[in-house]
């Protein structure tokens, strides 16, 4: 009797499952699908959700105006958990779902392996945040970015350290990821022996205890700590450094510039130098974006506006190309000039933005403020 019960229960479950799967298929509408991928869960989820919200806002605006090519736009959100393996499987999923284009990924370590998958499908990909130079050096015609490159970013940081702060000895710590180590190495390269690197070491991303590394670093008596990595580790690093009595200034890149960094580090974040693009609050074209985003999603993150612009460019290119065929859209993207919330977007043959100004920000009273702009020589 018991056996009979089990069988009937199992078959009942199967019945329900098959019905729900079937109804899932039946509801299919003719839409243009845009994928957005990034770390939607886990310690970097803030960045992933910022990107999702930026893209979501752009898609909603287009849908209000009647969509693209006469069809509604559907946003497919995928979570890559800032894991390269997960990024590849997410990329395959989006390709199979028939997405017309991708906004993402966030981390360079996920964007690079995922870009190979999208390249095979000739599907256009615009990353709002991945700054590692390697991404656009692969010879792919479908990869674009609306942010800058780490060689540009490292150069601005190095110029600032050597010419403005006029320091002689620095320490460099990175998180061993494509982005973190890449940025740290570009910084060291750009210092070009003008400043001595007295300490260079990697830590494990997601680790919570950096005291051992910091203690070894302290002994070398550097005058500045440069960190290549993302905000959870950056926040803990500077917090623990201050607890160990290390008082030297802290400098890092665009992966750290988020309010969460201040939340984690507390007062230890004061006076940190961070390289990033200019403040959208000072860009005239970004006014409407900031107003609408704040109304719909709250305070924008550093990359919300990039995701918004990337989505708008992607949809404009589809509109101009008059279809969603990958190679045509890629060609259109390469040749178009788009005025977005951040200003003019125009790509070179690699898919890098033609003009990308990085500036140095500073943390003051728990807020980020623009601090220093490189002259022509720093470009």
């Amino acid at each position: 009797m018991n056996n009979k019960h089990t069988i009937s229960i199992i078959s009942f479950i199967f019945l329900i499952l098959s019905v729900t799967i079937y109804s899932g298929c039946a509801k299919k509408e003719d839409t243009v699908k845009i994928g957005v991928a990034g770390p939607m869960t886990g310690d970097q989820s803030k960045m992933g959700l910022d990107i999702k919200n930026g893209a979501d806002m752009a898609v909603k605006e287009w849908n209000q105006k009647g969509g693209v090519l006469g069809k509604k736009i559907e946003l497919l959100v995928e979570d890559d958990q800032h894991d390269p393996k997960q990024a590849v499987s997410v990329a395959n999923k989006l390709v199979n779902a028939g997405a017309a284009g991708i906004i993402g990924h966030f981390n360079s370590s996920t964007s690079i392996p995922a870009s190979a998958v999208y390249n095979k499908a000739k599907m256009p990909m615009i990353t709002p945040a991945s700054t590692n130079p390697q991404l656009t050096e692969q010879g792919f015609t479908n990869v674009f970015r609306v942010c800058g490159r780490d060689d540009q970013q490292g150069l601005v940081a190095a110029t600032f350290v050597a010419s403005v702060l006029k320091l002689k000895k620095v320490a460099v710590i990175h998180d061993k990821t494509t982005y973190g180590q890449g940025l740290a190495d570009e910084f060291v390269k750009a210092l070009a022996k003008r400043v001595e690197v007295v300490y260079y070491n990697g830590v494990i991303q997601g680790d919570k205890d950096f005291r051992a590394v910091l203690t070894s670093m302290k002994e070398k008596k550097p005058e500045l700590l440069y960190f290549g990595g993302i905000y959870p580790d950056g926040g803990l690093l500077i917090k623990q450094a201050r607890e160990l009595g290390i008082t030297i200034p802290f400098m890092s890149g665009d992966g750290v510039i988020d309010q969460k960094f201040v939340e984690i580090a507390g007062t230890a974040s004061e006076g940190s130098y961070l390289t990033f693009s200019p403040d959208p609050e000072h860009i005239p074209g970004a006014k409407d974006f900031l107003k609408n985003y704040k109304a719909g999603y709250g305070e924008p993150g550093p990359y919300s506006i990039y995701a918004y612009d990337a989505t708008n460019v992607m949809l404009s290119a589809i509109e101009t190309a008059k279809n969603t065929d990958g190679p045509t859209v890629n060609k259109t993207l390469h040749s178009m000039k788009h005025t977005g919330a951040l200003g003019e977007i125009q790509w070179n043959e690699k898919g890098d933005i033609v003009h990308s100004p990085y500036v140095v920000w500073i943390t003051k009273d728990g807020k980020f403020k623009e601090h220093w702009k490189p002259g022509e020589a720093g470009q």
């Binding site: 494990i204 680790d207 051992a212 590394v213 939340e263 984690i264």
Partner: protein, 300 residues
């Protein structure tokens, strides 16, 4: 600098030792490796942050910091103890006479369940401990030992001594030792085995909760998967000292913390986590009974 690394390692080791005690006590009595023990530690950290935020919102923290930290410790210890007790009731007691592999699998199941339960209810983003503690510390030469590090080491050592006295000096401690030696004989002389097992789980859970609170204060950042690595490291510490042996767990915890800290400083910080596991492999290969463990002939 060596002194500073030693202090960092001692702090880390104190936390490992506290968690390792829970592993080793349960193993001593049930011969079960309670893989869900790390999750209890994670729960302790979460409850501390949630209750402290609550006290901060109501304005209590600003009135008396020490009293509110004490309240937080009690809440989270009680909460974790309740979880430890429920875990034993639901996942281990029904399997007490099953083959040894079954409770082990059940433990892994509980661990996965608790992680996902916390992720779903508390969200997957990191939780941040409120910035209410002073950053200061004592200076010794060019090393700094922060008030928090001092607090962690003293609290852990105090708890370890208390536990040692409890097991060696009290009647109940004697019952625990008897149960660990032979469950059947112990029950024949009138010891309530279930009671002993439950108490073991409660003590282990309270220690893990205290470790969780201290880590939340020390790092200032927690997440739902923190129990996994900490659990495995504490397990390594317990094996290093000789699993089932209380002094062994303490020794193993401190040794592991110091080795990890010195390894990261002098060998390579990139392989910091690997040191714990290299030690685990070496111990299992060359001295499976651990440093203080003795090889007991198979019980008949």
């Amino acid at each position: 600098m060596f002194l500073q690394q030693l202090i960092n390692g001692l702090t880390l080791g104190a936390v490992y030792a506290l968690i390792a005690l829970g592993y080793t006590m349960v193993y001593g009595i049930l011969e079960l490796i309670n893989f869900a023990h790390g999750e209890i530690y994670m729960l302790g950290a979460y409850v501390s942050i949630i209750s402290l935020s609550f006290l901060t919102v109501t304005g209590f923290t600003s009135k008396s910091l020490i009293l509110s930290l004490l309240i937080v410790a009690i809440i989270s210890a009680v909460y974790s103890a309740a979880y430890g007790l429920t875990m034993e009731r639901v996942a281990y007691r029904p399997l007490r006479h099953a083959p040894r592999l079954s409770p082990l699998i059940s433990a892994i199941g509980v661990s996965i369940f608790l992680q996902n339960y916390v992720m779903l209810t508390q969200g997957s983003a990191d939780k941040i401990f409120p910035h209410i503690l002073s950053n200061g510390g004592f200076s010794m030469g060019n090393a700094t030992i922060s008030y928090l590090q001092t607090f962690i080491i003293i609290t852990s050592v105090f708890l370890m001594i208390t536990l040692h006295a409890f097991i060696k000096k009290t009647r109940f401690g004697k019952a625990m030792r008897a149960t660990a030696q032979d469950k059947k004989m112990a029950s024949l002389v009138g010891i309530d085995i279930d009671n002993v097992i439950i108490t073991t789980f409660i003590i282990g859970s309270v220690l893990a909760a205290v470790a969780g609170i201290m880590v939340a204060m020390y790092y200032g950042l927690i997440n739902f998967y923190m129990g996994y690595v900490a659990g495995i490291k504490a397990f390594t510490a317990a094996v290093l000292g000789g699993i089932g042996n209380i002094q062994g767990a303490v020794l193993g915890g401190f040794l592991l913390g110091i080795m990890e800290s010195l390894g990261a400083a002098y060998v390579s910080s990139e392989y910091k986590d690997a040191f714990a596991f290299i030690i685990l492999i070496l111990i299992l290969t060359f001295k499976p009974t651990g440093l203080l463990g003795e090889s007991v002939p198979e019980k008949v």
